[in-house]
């Protein structure tokens, strides 16, 4: 699993990346009440706005950690936004992206680096 400074995580399986928000982000946001996801087929750019996660008092943009095409959106989190709080780095995943260039992932942090980064916040 790799991480961004914007608190997204990525798990790569072949050329398909599963993307979600980190446990730290889910904790900070508080109770998630709504998730707006892109429709499969949408093209996303690394660093571009990809989804929105809402709590009662805040709406946060989720950025695409990698460029590619969305192949799946997690219907479970749309139906039960609570899942993002319960299991942010597992069943609370947001989208799957078919990525153009697997080498992109090398730019992202590993868990140790991300945790060190969290320590600086």
């Amino acid at each position: 699993m790799r991480f961004t400074k914007d608190h997204e995580w990525v798990e790569l399986d072949g050329d398909t990346a599963t993307v979600g928000i980190t446990a730290y982000a889910a904790e900070q946001l508080g109770d998630v009440v709504f998730v707006e996801l892109p429709t499969p087929g949408a093209k996303v750019q690394a660093g571009g706005e990809m989804a929105v996660v809402e709590s009662v008092k805040a709406a946060s943009d989720v950025y695409a950690p990698l460029s590619g095409e969305v192949t799946a959106a997690n219907a479970e989190v749309s139906e039960n936004p609570q899942t993002v709080n319960d299991a942010p780095e597992a069943s609370g995943w947001l989208v799957k992206i078919k990525i153009a260039d697997p080498a992109q992932i090398d730019q992202l942090m590993d868990r140790a680096a991300y945790e060190a980064f969290l320590g600086t916040l």
């Binding site: 709504f34 707006e36 809402e54 009662v56 008092k57 805040a58 709406a59």
Partner: protein, 448 residues
């Protein structure tokens, strides 16, 4: 000054606590050149009695609608408002409270809003209604913007039966965001033209019923055409009492219904404050403008109400909000809701039937005058007539005889070439002798 409780002793003590010598020291951050040395050139404070005399003198220079025969509509309607409505909205706890941001101590306002939303939903025939907009015209403009967001398209087709002020307000809001408003030529019935104007770029079609000429139309065909092209149908109603008699916008296929709610619970007040009603289909709720009140429970499991889905709004989403609206029309919504509670659905239906009957009487009386042509075949409580003279001239002449005859169409849309068209409205407040006075005076003016 009777509203300012501090005495000079209080002020001195408070300055001492603060640790400054004078109030001037509290304004140190204001550039010296911008500090006024004394009061501006306006009258000094005045007693309650004196102010009452001044305002009373101005009020007496207006001819109140209820002071004689009166037939104006065109977006604002004179109805009787039960005395208890005004009494209740002057309760301190309603009148002098703020937006219910602290739900524990604002359940009164919040429950009213929940009831208001339910009433508006039921009247418009759509499942979701918000907690009010500024008025019908601004609600209409917001609906156009919402449709553009939902469909990601940039064109709105406006029926020629839409109130010209509504079309103008929609243009003002939409055009700077690159949303084009295409207003069709003013017409009593333009169903065919509306359908012909819909294309694959159309975000929405805006149709009013009863329209500016008073015409009641079945918009189902337009709904079908709009939906076939992937556009939304916005139905506008300026006379909310008509909901008591006519098929609802939702029933006829509207995706968004907006209305002016003034007719129920709110006086004419020379144009405002009024209350905009805004309802839509469930799927569109997250693109709605304005506040929404929802049901929930408190920490003891008791039912309560809160403002909800607020992430749509400016105080959270800022430049990505669905609208910039903040203050809405809460107290007018309360007046609407109280009057609607007194009426009930059954009372509203009766009121609407009486309105229709009075308007038919007026129509019959005016149609009998030589030179008058009735232009609106199917109407609720107002209709358009063609006169053999410019309507503005006739209205001015009748006003001198203390008959307020109606609204000249040219006042709303000077460029439409309909200078001889007069819009006439009758409500339950219109008495048979008023109709006689209008018919008599109009016949004489035409013959003159």
């Amino acid at each position: 000054m009777r509203y300012l409780p501090l005495s000079d002793t209080d002020r001195s003590e408070m300055l001492a606590t603060i640790g400054v010598d004078s109030v001037e020291d509290l304004f140190v951050d204001v550039p010296a050149t911008a500090r006024l040395p004394g009061p501006v050139d306006l009258p000094r404070q005045a007693s309650e009695a004196a102010v009452e005399r001044t305002l009373g003198a101005w009020a007496s220079r207006n001819r109140a609608a209820g002071a004689g025969p009166f037939f104006l509509g065109a977006g604002a309607y004179r109805h009787h408002i039960p005395a208890s409505v005004d009494h209740l909205i002057q309760r301190s706890e309603f009148l002098t409270s703020y937006t219910p941001y602290q739900p524990e101590i604002a359940q009164g306002t919040l429950q009213v809003l929940f009831e208001f939303q339910t009433q508006v939903s039921e009247l418009t025939g759509l499942p979701v209604a918000n907690a009010s907009m500024w008025d019908g015209s601004t609600a209409c403009a917001e609906a156009v913007m919402m449709a553009a967001r939902v469909t990601r398209r940039r064109k709105a087709v406006l029926s020629g039966g839409l109130h010209p002020h509504y079309a103008a307000s929609a243009y003002t809001l939409a055009h700077t965001s690159g949303v084009e408003t295409r207003k069709l030529a003013a017409a009593v019935d333009d169903e065919a033209a509306v359908i012909a104007a819909i294309d694959s770029d159309t975000a929405c079609v805006v149709v009013q019923s009863p329209n500016i000429f008073g015409a009641v139309t079945d918009v189902s065909e337009i709904a079908r055409a709009a939906h076939a092209a992937g556009a939304l149908l916005i139905v506008v109603t300026t006379e909310a009492v008509s909901f008591g008699l006519l098929r609802s916008p939702g029933e006829m296929g509207a995706d968004i219904a907006v209305a002016e709610g003034q007719s129920i619970g709110n006086g004419l007040t020379f144009g405002g404050p009024y209350v905009g009603l805004f309802a839509c289909r469930n799927e569109l709720v997250r693109q709605m403008p304005g506040r929404l009140c929802g049901e929930t429970v408190d920490a003891h499991g008791r039912r309560g109400f809160v403002l909800t889905l607020s992430t749509r709004e400016q105080h959270i989403r800022r430049d990505k909000a669905t609208s910039n609206i903040c203050t809405n029309s809460g107290l007018c919504a309360l007046a609407f809701s109280i009057h609607m509670t007194l009426l009930g659905g059954a009372g509203l239906a009766r009121l609407a039937r009486i309105n229709h009957a009075r308007a038919r009487s007026a129509r019959d009386a005016l149609a009998a005058i030589p030179g008058v042509e009735v232009l609106t075949p199917k109407f609720f409580n107002e209709f358009a007539i063609r006169l053999p003279k410019p309507a503005e001239v006739v209205v001015e002449a009748l006003a001198k005889r203390d008959v307020l005859a109606g609204v000249p169409f040219s006042r709303l849309d000077p460029g439409a070439g309909l200078d001889d068209v007069l819009l006439v409205c009758a409500t339950e407040t219109t008495l048979p002798e008023d109709i006689e006075a209008l018919a008599g005076a109009l016949a004489e003016e035409i013959a003159r």
